[in-house]
Symmetry: C3
Subunit: 656 residues, 3 copies
């Protein structure tokens, strides 16, 4: 794994660039990402390009031996473009155009903007596409950040109509698919259809889902336009995009399919503050981030990159954008870096080389403070370099450090998030929280997890977990049926058709062959209510009728007799929001049935294997002893650390 | 009492209709309501009517012996109408038109919409007005639902000006009435007056009150237009409207005056989740609904219908529209049905025959699941049929089951809600909560209550309760003075003139002859503050000066000496938000003085008399024994159940 | 000190005026403020003035010996003006014009309104400027109330561009100053710049700060236009403005510089309900107001008036505009009046003579109820008159009652509020709360405080406290360096340049000579987190590096070793949000070093000296004994009260 950094030559005097570049190399960095917001410097006036400074920056960085990640600057169209073409602007849910003055103000559906995005991409690619120092590309920046996928402009409305027309062909089919006979919502032509906002009460969920799908497709096609140009003008360079965390507003698998590798921007403390965890969890991990959140995203984006992925931006200290912005625990930046290694990252790139003294992110830490001194993260990066050398030495000595498929796969479904967001039925039914619940339970068992998209092959897996799959395509149902390992399926799976209707015969729809049950009713339970039973149920409870003729075991019920854990031996269904105990019991059984060994880790100790090396990370602010949790650990050969892990401590040992 | 169901033939294949109809009859249903959202099917293109399917549906249902409630489909104007006439749309408080894509998107003041509403009403009435199967009409659907009474369109502004001009004639009178000299708010003509929105700080309360009155009148006149047509074209059919619960944004008495019977849509669990009760109350009654909320509305709408009323939509299981949507306690749907009987309903109609698999309400339970199987509520409806047969047998045997005027009347005032909403003075001064407090206290005493509008005759009552009457018309004051029973009057009564001014001589204004007091000051108290005393005071406290020359008794004071219970013997005034103990003491005294016997019921046991039969309903999830609460109950002859009430249990006994 | 009252002759029949006037005089009032919202009566039609009624009112009041404070009625432009010139209206952050129907609906930048404001000012001043009864003027009313400083109209945008052009001259300098290279925010001309609203994520803080400065300047220039006219047409009259409490949206020092005296509107109970104090604090002082809030504003506005100040509106009972509106503790209105005296007020004027029975403020108490009877506050005003007579007698007998400079000065910086509001970095970093924390700590020590603007001379002070000064101009740094007393400087001081950038060498920037430290990083801490240590740190913690070569003492650290109290002996820096204990320790040391004697007062007992008389005020609802808190008090000669203070009690004694 290589290290890198995000650098903004345009923010600093040219005289400083060479010194910065050699300091980067000296620290042990390999990659440097530049220019992703520099449009106003590259094209200061319409059609007039100023390449001088950027040529100089590229040459200077390249001369220091650094490999450049060049960016298309399309996340920040300059003011002259907005003034000349106001239709570039996205439009909010309130019907008003977003305004210039920050970033991501463009509408993905603006044909004007598409043209300008391609034009600037072509210009930059023509200039630097074959430059020897340019090793990779990043398209745009953080699609979807600041809730920018959905726009309600005239352009978007027109593109939506075209999208619908292509999907449904006949307006009658659309009316049937959406159930528009309900409330006289029927349309007589595609031209009558508007984006689903401003309605008196909720809009048709099918209408909203199609708008969400359309918008997701718009992101993918916008990105694909840039990629086409980059492939043409910059051959043999990797093309990446830097995804955000906790952003599910478009299908990252689809965008990822066009990339050479995925990357994401990892800000564990900022994401913790913004997340929906209970207050005590947030306080406990205030300086560490949530122990499962970062790893989940590593695994997810590894899947989006089909095995290849980077951390494009790594938090180095306090950020500026959460409600509260504490500093990381000493050692934590190093630990995050090594955790990315353990999960298979190719590169971890710190954001940013030097804290800017001006504008929106002036309170965002970097590897250096604005006065040029080394910040706390510098030492941590240096320590990470050292640990990576130790690992590289081991690899050179023959230890395998290649990523292998994990025995456990978790099916991650962006559309599930969209559907529960549109129709939660219970206000706290949140897909990402549900996935985190499953993922955290697997990790407490010491298991490595691969994320997979719905429909991915399951060969070689021993346990497949689907926290929820509201829409089950027939192909997926068949794959599940053919799979021979343990299968754990969460609530609301198979509860909808792709048209956002309730399937014939009710939930679980196409999964019924696998799961001979019928979900006769569902109920959501307000906070404070625990449906009594050995495993008290919170949030969500289904009324399941097992097929009395099927060979189906009910292994947990509420006190009132409602089955909440049903299984056919190989296939388990959880008919409730899974609480810790229930989920733990189901997963232990599912693992046991296929001979997967499990541990019993505390919530702050997490493991990850890479090849023959196993990593442990202590997310606690207190030390811990691995020997108390991992049998036989004392006999292992350690590459990093030993059995005693300090706060934010990392250990790695050979475990073939 | 008959049972019925809401049915949407347009949602199902025509082939299924006959089977559905016969199943309805078989279950014991009498009424079936149809077509209230079917405009886009009745008039698919402007001016082109498609009667075929509806003719067929009406004939099929009629052939099964069902009595049809036909609806005007005006709650859902179709897209072609909106596109042709955007002025049909209501305008929100933000000044932006509501958009098509759900329901109730029209503006009551749109002259264009008035014309179209009449046109479609006439078309449907001409077609089915004299059809033998059509037994009744429902106008529109749930006026005011989704906060749709107030619209701020140009049409509404123009109509408001005309309304003001008719009310005040002279702009000087309006300026005087509103006190517009304050803050230079004076107008020089009615044309200068806008709706009261968008102001920098609060608008003039008199301005807002008149806008509310105007909007309420618009609902009544809109409804009256349809009624005129229906009376002309469909003689001898009852005309109803289905009111919503917890909706006080227009004067339901005024709309009810034009109807043959009132009806309402009763969703006890949804209303509980949306209500302002403390969390523990909501958890306690999560599967039952609040024990007083439903009954209060039964009594209120019985008053609006001048004795005749239905439940047009009865919740049958989990709904889709509250933040959390649990399932009812087993037996609860039957209990709700019988509770409606006890309160005098003519019909209880379940919503809906079969859960729709598509669109906004696909998660709303029905008597059947979307796959056509019987849902939990089917059994409950069947059990209700059985109980109703037992009651019918008793009636046939001579037991009186006619409703009689209750000894207690509660004066319910829609304008009081408007005024406290406009000028709460303390943020939690909520009229409906205040009414529920009084109503619940009366019911804990085992008393039956009739709701009456301000100004209704009081003859025959023994106790009249007015939770609050900010405006007391002279006629009402006279009626109170002439009344010979006990009178309990709540805070803020007589505190305003009809022009939203403080009356001469201060509160209680025209009630002063009856109540020789002067409210020198009032104060609102934040949550957490209890003004010390034998009856601690929360929320609201008045500084009352009794007339020292009057024969007035002060029976409770705060520790600081402020009178909170004053009475002249016959007339009681509560100068505070009444807490449970104080209110209980006042009501017991008031009852005792007129010889009304009272009980001491727990908060989950409620009684209601109909003729010579008394009903008890257990709102608890645990069983209870009536003998512990009702002296002599063991000797009664039971029509339904016995003295042991299970969860959601209902009993009825002869008590002449 | 004189007493006064706010009176609205236009609200009452002319026949009542003379009687009101003589009752005012009889009560002992000297001043009467009139006409500040009377535009629609003064100029009922465009250009047509109706002076008759106002002439009569002025004469009547004057005839009773009252001194009139005449107002410009510009806070309430009438409807005819708005209809003729809609560009008068302010525009909200949502881009929509505010609407007529309350007050303060004008935009400070509207050139049209500027012209009309001058025209009506000139008309009123010409009419009454030299009237013998007119003793003073109030311009407009409560600038900034209801969040009305910032407007986003076209006029404001144009004026902002002109303001920027004058400030920066070159667009390149603006781009550099704002750091617009960040996110391609660069402008090519001033014409391209819009107000900083509607952006996708936060706008550039420098952009927002300049908009705030611009808007603050607009208030000052608007006010200055009226003052120019009044000085010309009404010589020798004091000109005041009535500022609001808790309003920091413009620089009151700048507006105050044009006035003869400042005044403010003191509503202790309303401000308490609206404030950010913990709920238990709000309940504890519900009927008293917060013990430091009112005094802080007295001291602040005394500074704004350069020693001369009034309370223009004094709360007399429950108000109408807080979420809850309780009544003051008996005696509290008198106590507030005398507290103003102790802090040097020239006049306390009660709002209002008689409660209006109509419009928005009908629930706002006055000295009389709407029926003309005396309200509770009347007795309190009478009692205040009595106490003031006792003081006047003492003064006549030679006791000094002149205000003297306090030994302690607190530097109050409006721009600090703007900057922390724009960039809190931690969501609860609130400048006014920070100032209250310092101010309260000083007052618990029994110290009198003068507020001073940044840059005011420090001569004669023994202790200077700066809760936070993010921008330190070189002149201020020099003044601090030259100062010989103790200096206590709070967090984030010197952390920004005036362009809202991080200074060279980091914080504390220009204070480094004085404080040889470097703030390497800062972090904000969420509620619930206390950074461990002898003085646990909440909200805010800086990572300070002391200059190892400097003579600097670290007197408190966190458990993790971070310095939180550093000092050079004379200069103290608090590198954290100061908690009570830490701040107390620092201030006691700082006082001790300069020989300032301190007390240890409970949080409800507050002292203030005026000349040779010291005042004590009991903010508790229980009595207290001064002897328990003030050594030697028993031997003092009391002018008001004695050592036993009842609830809301006030004492004053000779203490030369």
């Amino acid at each position: 794994m290589k290290l890198g950094v995000c650098y903004y030559p345009e923010h600093w005097p040219e005289a400083q660039w060479a010194q910065d570049a050699s300091a980067m190399a000296e620290l042990g960095l390999t990659f440097v990402r530049i220019a992703e917001f520099a449009w106003s410097r590259i094209e200061p006036d319409p059609g007039r390009y100023d390449w001088g400074w950027l040529d100089q920056a590229v040459d200077t960085l390249g001369a220091a031996g650094l490999r450049i990640v060049m960016c298309t600057p399309t996340a920040t169209p300059p003011k002259w473009l907005i003034d000349a073409h106001p239709d570039v602007l996205a439009v909010g849910v309130d019907g008003r155009p977003r305004r210039f003055g920050s970033r991501r103000h463009y509408c993905f559906s603006s044909r004007t903007y598409r043209a300008h995005s391609q034009q600037i991409t072509r210009a930059v690619a023509e200039r630097y596409g074959r430059h020897p120092a340019v090793a990779a590309w990043q398209t745009d920046n953080e699609y979807g950040c600041h809730d920018t996928v959905l726009s309600y402009s005239q352009s978007a409305a027109a593109a939506f109509r075209a999208w619908l027309s292509a999907r449904y062909v006949s307006i009658d089919d659309l009316n049937r698919g959406w159930g528009n006979v309900f409330w006289s919502q029927e349309y007589r032509s595609f031209e009558q259809i508007d984006p689903p906002i401003g309605t008196v009460t909720e809009a048709n969920p099918a209408h909203r889902l199609d708008y969400q799908r359309f918008a997701s497709d718009e992101v993918a096609s916008f990105n694909r336009e840039q990629i086409g140009i980059l492939r043409e003008l910059s051959p043999d360079r990797d093309i990446l995009h830097n995804f955000m965390g906790a952003t599910l507003s478009f299908d990252h698998f689809k965008v990822g399919a066009d990339l050479d590798a995925a990357s994401w921007d990892s800000y564990p403390l900022g994401f913790l503050q913004q997340g929906a965890w209970p207050e005590d969890t947030k306080l406990r991990f205030m300086r560490q981030g949530h122990p499962d959140f970062t790893a989940l995203h590593h695994d997810l984006y590894r899947a989006c990159g089909r095995g290849r992925w980077w951390v494009m931006e790594q938090q180095p200290g306090p950020v500026n954008w959460a409600k509260w912005n504490p500093a990381p625990l000493p050692g934590m930046v190093r630990a995050w870096t090594l955790e990315a290694f353990a999960h298979g990252a190719e590169v971890v790139s710190y954001f940013r080389w030097r804290q800017a003294p001006f504008a929106q992110e002036q309170m965002h830490a970097g590897l250096h403070t604005p006065d040029g001194a080394r910040a706390a993260a510098w030492d941590e990066a240096a320590a990470a370099v050292k640990a990576l050398h130790a690992l590289a030495d081991k690899r050179a000595a023959g230890t395998c450090l290649d990523m292998r498929p994990a025995p456990v796969a978790l099916v991650f479904d962006y559309a599930a998030h969209w559907m529960f967001d549109i129709q939660p039925q219970g206000a706290d039914f949140d897909y990402l929280q549900l996935v985190l619940t499953f993922y955290g339970a697997l990790r407490r068992l010491g298991l490595d997890v691969d994320m997979i998209p719905p429909g991915a092959p399951l060969t070689g897996r021993r346990l497949v977990v689907a926290p929820s799959l509201p829409v089950v395509e027939p192909s997926l149902a068949s794959a599940f049926e053919a799979f021979e390992g343990s299968l754990v399926i969460g609530p609301r799976s198979g509860s909808k058709t792709s048209a956002f209707q309730i399937p014939d015969g009710l939930s679980p729809g196409p999964l019924r062959r696998l799961l001979p049950i019928r979900v006769a009713a569902v109920e959501s339970l307000p906070p404070g209510w625990a449906e009594a039973g050995a495993h008290p149920v919170r949030r969500w409870l289904e009324h399941v009728e097992p097929n009395p003729n099927a060979d189906l075991s009910v292994d947990a019920r509420t006190a009132a007799g409602k089955p909440i854990w049903l299984n056919t031996g190989r296939v388990h269904y959880i008919a409730a929001w899974p609480d810790g105990d229930l989920l733990d019991a189901v997963l232990r059984r599912a693992c046991g049935d296929v001979g997967l060994p499990v541990l019993d880790l505390p919530d702050h100790l997490r493991l990850r294997r890479r090849g023959d090396v196993r990593f442990a990370l202590n997310y606690d602010a207190a030390p811990l002893d691995l020997a108390a949790h991992i049998p036989g650990i004392a006999e292992r050969e350690f590459v990093i650390g030993d059995t005693r892990l300090g706060p934010a401590g990392v250990a790695a040992w050979i475990d073939p």
